[in-house]
């Protein structure tokens, strides 16, 4: 019998449900990819709607991944899988993942990275952070998004810049390192930046720690997100 007064472990419930949702969403996304492919090759005219579906499902997927990861971090069940990765290859993969959706909106994703560039980080986490920023830029960029990596003073500096109108002032004045905030007035959940700052902080090398930064201007005059990893 269900006892309505029994208190449930709501966060655990939420996490396991999110996990289940993610499985369904995964099937949905892969199937959608197949539909898009056959549809495009047949020259159907629902291309832009389908691409919007792809974009939105990716957004949901990114959010779910972030929620689950933050949950695990909160429960102290998360461990960084630090490895040495090829940054050039990682960027190529990001482009493969996002290019078709961005192209459908007339946005070009450009990468700048030394072919020999390698660095130490948690690949899934950093991919998550970059995908999330690129996904946001999709909404604001006009024609171009640049992802760039350079090595600077013992850090890898990965930045994502667009040619949109940039971040609203309210965003720029809050301390992104401490960002935990849900702001209902701006409609931002703050999840993406919070996740990014958590990921940055988890990356440490000896006495140095990763940081994030958001600014306007950047390479193309729009918003620019930067994550620096030691």
């Amino acid at each position: 019998m269900i006892n309505p007064t029994k208190t449930i472990d709501f966060p655990a419930f939420l996490a396991s449900t999110v996990h289940d949702m993610k499985n369904s969403l995964g099937m949905l996304m892969n199937t959608l990819d197949e539909v898009v492919e056959t549809c495009v090759s047949k020259g159907c005219d629902s291309g832009s709607q389908l691409s919007l579906m792809q974009y939105e499902s990716r957004r949901v997927n990114n959010n779910l991944i972030q929620l689950l990861t933050l949950y695990k971090m909160d429960m102290d069940q998360f461990s960084l899988q630090l490895g040495e990765y090829d940054v050039y290859e990682l960027f190529e993969e990001i482009i493969l993942q996002n290019d078709s959706v961005l192209k459908a909106r007339g946005i070009e994703l450009i990468m700048e990275c030394d072919e020999q560039q390698i660095w130490f980080f948690d690949r899934e986490l950093i991919t998550g952070v970059i995908n999330n920023v690129v996904n946001n830029a999709y909404r604001y960029a006009k024609e171009k998004i640049l992802i760039r990596a350079v090595e600077e003073d013992g850090f890898i500096v990965i930045s994502i810049a667009d040619d949109g109108n940039g971040y609203p002032d309210a965003f720029l004045t809050t301390d992104v390192q401490q960002s935990t905030g849900v702001s209902f007035s701006t409609g931002s959940t703050g999840l993406g930046l919070y996740f990014a700052s958590m990921v940055a902080v988890m990356h440490k090398n000896r006495d140095r720690t990763g940081t994030i930064e958001i600014a306007n201007g950047g390479e193309y005059g729009g918003g620019c997100f930067t994550i620096r990893l030691p």
Binding site: N23, G26, E92, L96, Q97, E124, L125
Partner: protein
């Protein structure tokens, strides 16, 4: 893009729709030779019959079922997959709490679902290229030519800056396998100078452990866990270190902490059981052995000692009847496995003794002795010693002593084993007699070895080979005898000509040394000699 048409795929998932989807995606990437399995059992059967190039395995295959990690362990353990096989673990979330087994049992990649066709194609291509890059080294490792493999690694480190760290990691591991701890240390220091990388820290700790600097080792392993509590290998090494320091309680606690984080590691439960038993913590021991038995049902690491351990524990908690049931279950589970039957019979003796059924206890001993004889020396020291103790317990002093002599003969220069033999004699109230037997047997072995050595010194290498081979046949666990058998063979080939037959024989003795004591100084030298003869230039 690599042509996937010629590659054979195996897709493992409990969810049929996912298998279909994955196969369609792979097909779109050019693959057309694909098998599917819905369970671990099915996957293992397929791997026995086919040789796969790429295996795509979902981690979670349902509650209570073999998971992706267990399939991988079994496939590697039973050599169902090749070194060049790419094993990809698919997971639905990027938290690795469930995985992280021993390093040698890690998949080539973890991929987060969902994964788009383009990204999957690219990852498979990268993995195949990387496997090809490591092919020569893997082949040398498979031939156990560790020094050649190290030389190949060094070449790659110079020419392939992108995978430098991975080659360094492999090199350090090979140095340890070849018994060259100093060279391994150099690699770890080199890596740690660049950055604090957990595997390099662990490696430094392992070197301390192997050198016997247990306090230094403990400090390092503790620091690793402090910084990264999910690094499971560090717990196992810390526990081993604490055991060497004879702090059994702490060792047990460390492993219990580890199982709370990663509950499926069967070997860890086995260790907890043994430690808990040694520290008279019988409730914990029973819990741990039960866990090992349950997990063992899906694992290639199931072991009769999980059952015998539980049975012996139950004797201490006044449930000897239950213990007999456990041992009966072991007889069914390990039918046809003589080593398991030996262990079971010895444990039965203990249980019957406790129940006051002395005749049954004696019968168990007879059965155990018979199995022991049929195994012809291929019995782990621990088992022979248990058998000897059981003999003492039923008052069969003469048989017990003869088993103990066997143990001493095989391990006359191993202080740890000799101490255990002394303890066993003491428990059986045979302290003085035991000490005499040990001393006499040790003396006999030293004499035996000296006889062979003198043949070498006289230049009678052929006779020395015959002598040591005969001795090593009777003493498969004796370090110095096996080392000298290999040495005589290698010296003969150095002087005369290299022959496949002698090379093969030498490699078998060297292999024994590696198993008995990988830190043994002579092992390193013999391996060098062997590889030099096998691969001149």
């Amino acid at each position: 893009m690599i042509d996937l048409q010629k590659k054979k795929f195996l897709v493992i998932d409990d969810f049929p729709d996912f298998i279909k989807l994955m196969k369609r995606t792979l097909f779109a990437l050019g693959a057309n030779n694909m098998d599917e399995a819905r369970s671990g059992e099915q996957a293992i059967e397929l791997m026995k019959r086919n040789s796969y190039d790429i295996i795509m395995c979902d981690y979670n295959l349902g509650a209570g079922k073999k998971d992706g990690q267990q399939i991988l362990e079994e496939a590697k353990h039973s050599e169902l997959i090749r070194h060049s096989t790419v094993y990809i673990m698919l997971t639905a979330e990027n938290t690795m709490t469930m995985v992280m087994g021993a390093v040698e049992y890690q998949p080539d990649a973890y991929l987060l679902k969902p994964i788009s066709k383009e990204v999957l194609g690219k990852r498979i291509e990268t993995l195949l290229l990387k496997k090809a890059d490591f092919e020569n080294i893997e082949a040398a490792i498979a031939r156990k030519e560790y020094n050649s493999a190290i030389a190949l690694c060094e070449e790659k480190i110079k020419t392939s800056p992108k995978n430098k760290l991975e080659y360094l990691k492999l090199k350090s591991d090979l140095c340890i396998r070849a018994g060259n701890l100093e060279a391994a240390s150099v690699v770890f220091e080199e890596v740690l100078a660049i950055r604090d990388i957990p595997w390099a820290k662990l490696g430094r700790g392992k070197v301390y452990f192997l050198e016997g600097s247990y306090l230094n080792a403990r400090e390092i392993f503790q620091a690793i866990i402090q910084e990264n509590k999910m690094f499971m290998e560090a717990y196992d090494w810390l526990a081993k270190t604490l055991e060497e320091l004879e702090d059994m309680d702490s060792a047990k606690r460390v492993l219990i902490n580890a199982t709370e984080i990663s509950p499926k590691a069967i070997l860890r439960h086995q260790n907890i059981g043994n430690l808990a038993f040694k520290t008279n913590d019988f409730d914990k021991a029973a819990e741990a052995f039960n866990a090992a038995i349950n997990i063992g049902k899906n694992s290639c690491y199931k072991n009769a000692s999980d059952y015998t351990g539980l049975a012996k524990t139950l004797v201490h908690t006044d449930s000897s009847e239950g213990a007999l049931e456990v041992l009966q279950a072991a007889r069914e589970e390990f039918k046809g496995d003589r080593n398991a039957m030996l262990q079971t019979s010895v444990a039965e003796c203990t249980v019957y003794k406790d129940l006051g059924r002395d005749d049954d206890a004696k019968k168990s001993i007879q059965e155990a002795s018979k199995i022991h004889a049929s195994l012809g020396g291929a019995v782990p020291v621990q088992e022979t010693m248990e058998l000897a103790k059981a003999c003492f317990s039923v008052g069969d002093k003469a048989t017990g002593i003869s088993f103990m002599q066997e143990v001493v003969k095989d391990n006359h220069d191993n202080d740890k084993v000799i101490n255990m033999v002394e303890d066993a004699f003491e428990v059986a109230d045979l302290q003085e007699e035991g000490a005499k037997i040990i001393a006499a047997t040790q003396k006999e072995m030293i004499k035996l070895n000296n006889e062979g050595v003198s043949l070498v010194e006289q230049g009678r290498l052929k006779d020395a080979i015959d002598f040591f081979e005969k001795a090593a046949g009777r003493l498969p666990e004796n370090k110095i005898i096996n080392a000298n058998a290999a040495h005589a063979l290698l010296m003969f080939m150095e002087k005369n000509a290299v022959s496949d037959k002698y090379l093969f024989k030498a490699s078998q003795y060297i292999d024994r040394l590696k198993r008995i004591d990988p830190a043994y100084d002579k092992y390193k030298k013999l391996l060098f000699m062997y590889e030099k003869l096998k691969n001149p230039t």
